[in-house]
Structures are given as structure tokens and as C-alpha cells.
Point group: C2
Chain length 279, copies 2
């Protein structure tokens, strides 16, 4: 698989680069970004995957979160995939929460989405192999985190592939998509009416049988406009208590669902992963 | 003068807020942003003005530079004005380097620009008074910095109003607009053919007779695409040496003209101002 360079910038002694490649999994051209810290010039470094929320691309977190500063301190590489396949031939929806920009990190089985929407396979297999082959990444030390829809993606991929993604954290995640409007809409469209298939993509369901040895960190703002309707922290907190999943869930007075919130706590999250991955 | 709230976000323990107001100086509605650090809840704090470059608004620096982190550590308020008057009734030009988004921090005397384009008066008088009246700002401790066109704006306003803007720094500034295409084009349009009037808006001319007691910090990337054609550091460095202006001008291998560069060195700049303003 060939990477086509799109852009590159020096940043905090390292390099932020953006790449295109033809994806066999999604059947589209996919774009992602990599922040390589200065330590990567000397040898492989741990890898932290950031999964973005609805409507986002690689750019939101790389432009707005300030992650390069702490990643350069700890010597961690950060990968930011897109949130869905894109292009004029890819099915889409006028709503911001379905179709392009709203892949929900799952494999769609319903038409018309089933042809291209396979973001979980894309990230865990194809992009994983691409990163391993093209960057100085220590693939034995990978963590995963994300925001909102991507925070949920990080939780589910951690629970399903704990040996790959050894550490996990999230900002303002959806935690139980089966029980909230965003999730119900996306799951129904992508994988059909409620069924046992929903459980494999629902973090609250997964943690009940797939709890891990990791200590999960979650931060959410108390002024988050989606807190009560879409995020519903208590459901997940209760499930973690029941299953014995180690979890620190912090609620922050005054903060919203935005990147100013994420930037404020980004250092804590990268330090959390650095500690777990011994970066 | 009344401020109309536009947006507000919690950020690093402080608040980022955006405001509109009717400007008597520009004859338009003007928008600006304020980052108030947590220390401002207890009393007045020093104020640092950030002047943006071509095409920018308040948003670029507030979204992309990560300044809130260091401003919250040092307890400094940051004000980000717009780069020009705007609106359907304000003269504009199709080029990115003239008209809306390209005010060059001067008072235009040529038609059609002379009716609204008065960004130096707007910032030094009107917005200064608005900030003093509406925020916990210690107006005896003000500094100024900026990027590119705004880096030049910061230098010129510091030289012309050293008792107001006591500290000064810049990222990738134009330093001698009279001698580079961006400046020649804008000055000709806004203030007419080359004349003695150009000198009052040219940092290299100003420093020859208005050197200050401040120690100026400038950072520029060696990979900046505008370095040789528009920025020309040597002209300003020579002028500072001749006039005895204290200057640290750092050149950085690999860095460009972008906000990834600015973010990398933002902490150094805020610390520079904090030290000068005893924040």
C-alpha cells in the first residue's frame, strides 16, 4: 500500500504529516494524520490513536487540541484517522449524525452503507498495518482515545482488542449508543433494527463481559449540551462498577462538548497513556 | 458602548468569550475575543494584545495556538481583535492581502478605504477603552504581540505607544512593509504613493528614532514560504543594532508560517511578556 503525502509541518520538535491512501477495506481514498514526536527520529515510540467525533476529520484534533506539546514531551506518536469513508460515490445523508463524518467505528451491514462503511476494520487492520510499515511505531505499545462518537469508538475497540490497544481514555464519550438517539439512529441505519448485533458495538454491553486490566480515564463537561440526552455517564459508570472495570470518570464544572474543553485536559490524557504504555 | 455576547467557553480554568460591539471608529460592528485567566476572577490582571495576520479573525489564534494554557499559568488576559472592519457595506478586494481581513493596523487616507479602515485607532483607543471598562484588566500592564501582518502591527504600535504596550514580541513578522510586495501594495492602496506617511507605519523606519527600553522577542521559521520575499529579517535586525533596540531574533529550522509553528513557541512568548509585565 502506498502513502501519498498531502501536507507536513514542523511542530514541537516533531512532525505533523497528512497522508492519503487507497483503502481496500472502505473502497475509497482515505486520509489520516500522524504526529511524530522528536523521539521518533531515534527509534520506535508508543502509538496513541485518537478517534474524532461527528463531522470531524484528522484536522480538528491536530489543529485545536494542542496534543503535540505533551506528545513531544512523552515521546508518543499520535494517529488521527478520519471519521468515515468520504467521496462523491460514498453514500451520505443530509444529517450531520449519519453518513459521511459519522462512521461510528463499526462495519455496516445494511444497504447502502454496507459497501464502504467499515471503519472498525479499517482502523484495527488496514491502517494499523500501514502505520506499522511506514512509521517508527512500537506496535506492542498502543493506546486509544477519542471524543464523543470517537470516545465511544475508543472504548469499544479497547474492549474488543485489549491486546492491541492496551490503554484507553475518552473525552465526553457516548457510552451506551443502544440507549440514546445518536446511537439508535446510526445503529438502525448501519446494522439494522435492535438485535444481538448491537451489543458488540455498545461499550456498556461490552464492559459487562469484556472488562480489561486497563484503568480507563474519562473526562466530561458538566455544561456539555449533550450530557443528559446522548452521553449519560451513569449507565456506563454503573456497568463498570458491576463488572469490576477500573474507571476514573471526572465531571468538570462549566465545560462544554468543544475542543477548548479537550485542550484543557489533553495533557492529562496523554500522561495517562504514557504511564500505562511506559512511554 | 455596549458589548453583545456572541460565545463563551470554559478553558484552562478561565473563560474565552467573544463579543460584538458597534464601533464609532470603523463605523461597523466589530468582533473580538478575550481569554480571561482564572486569576482574573480575583482582580485585575495584565493584558496582552494579539494581532493576527492576513485573512484571520479572533478565531485563528484562540483555536489553534494553545495560548490559554500558558496564559492561565501566568495569569494574563489575552485580547484578539479582528484584522479589519468587515461587512457587506465595507470596501473589499478579491485578493487575500487587501481589504477585509487585511487592515494592516493603520488609518487609511485613500478612497474607498478611508471611510472604515482605521484599525490602529480602533485598537489603541476604542477597543482599549472597551476592555478597560468591561474586563478585570490592569491597563497599566499591557503588552502586544502578533503574527505576520499582525507581528508588524505589534511592532509599530509598541514603538508608537511604548507607555501603553510595554512589552512586545512577534511571530514571523513583516518588519519593513515599505520594502516588500505585501506592504507596498497595502500602503499604496490605503495611504497613497510612497511618501513620508509610509514611515509612520513601517517598523524598520520607526525603530530608528523610536527605540524603546523593551527587549523585543521575534521567532521566525527558516522554512517560512514568505521569509525571503515578505519578511526579510535582516533589514530589521540591522536597524535594531544601529539604533540600540534590544532584540532577540530566533530562526527555527524546519518551521513554516503556520499556527503549528506559533503553537510551538507560544509559551515562550507569553512567558516573555509575563516577565516584562511582572505577571
Amino acid at each position: 500500500m502506498t502513502l501519498t503525502p498531502v501536507s507536513s509541518w514542523a511542530s514541537f520538535g516533531g512532525t505533523l504529516s497528512v497522508h492519503d491512501h487507497e483503502s481496500a477495506v472502505t473502497g475509497t481514498t482515505m486520509r489520516f494524520a500522524v504526529y511524530s514526536p522528536p523521539q521518533a527520529k531515534k527509534g520506535p515510540v508508543p502509538v496513541l490513536w485518537y478517534l474524532s467525533g461527528l463531522t470531524c476529520t484528522w484536522a480538528n484534533v491536530m489543529e485545536k487540541s494542542g496534543l503535540q506539546r505533551t506528545a513531544s514531551e512523552h515521546g508518543i506518536m499520535i494517529i488521527a484517522p478520519d471519521t468515515s469513508p468520504r467521496g462523491p460515490d460514498v453514500p451520505d445523508d443530509d444529517a450531520y449524525d449519519l453518513g459521511q463524518g459519522a462512521g461510528f467505528y463499526l462495519t455496516a451491514t445494511e444497504a447502502p452503507w454496507d459497501k464502504h462503511y467499515r471503519m472498525d476494520q479499517y482502523i484495527t487492520r488496514e491502517l494499523n498495518a500501514l502505520v506499522a510499515a511506514n512509521f517508527p511505531a512500537d506496535m506492542k505499545r498502543q493506546g486509544i482515545f477519542g471524543h464523543s462518537m470517537g470516545g465511544h469508538g475508543a472504548l469499544t475497540l479497547h474492549f474488543k482488542y485489549p491486546d492491541t490497544y492496551r490503554s484507553c481514555s475518552a473525552f465526553s464519550p457516548i457510552t451506551s449508543p443502544s440507549r440514546v438517539p445518536w446511537g439508535e439512529k446510526a445503529f438502525t441505519a448501519y446494522i439494522g433494527p435492535p438485535s444481538i448485533a448491537w451489543e458488540q458495538y455498545d461499550a456498556t454491553e461490552l464492559v459487562q463481559t469484556r472488562q480489561t486490566d486497563a484503568h480507563i480515564l474519562i473526562d466530561t463537561g458538566k455544561a456539555d449540551q449533550f450530557l443528559e440526552t446522548q452521553l449519560k455517564p451513569d449507565i456506563f459508570i454503573d456497568a463498570c462498577e458491576t463488572s469490576g472495570q477500573a474507571l476514573t470518570y471526572r465531571m468538570h464544572e462549566g465545560y462544554g462538548h468543544d475542543y477548548y474543553f479537550i485542550a484543557t485536559f489533553m495533557s492529562d490524557h496523554i500522561a495517562h497513556h504514557a504511564k500505562a504504555l511506559k512511554a
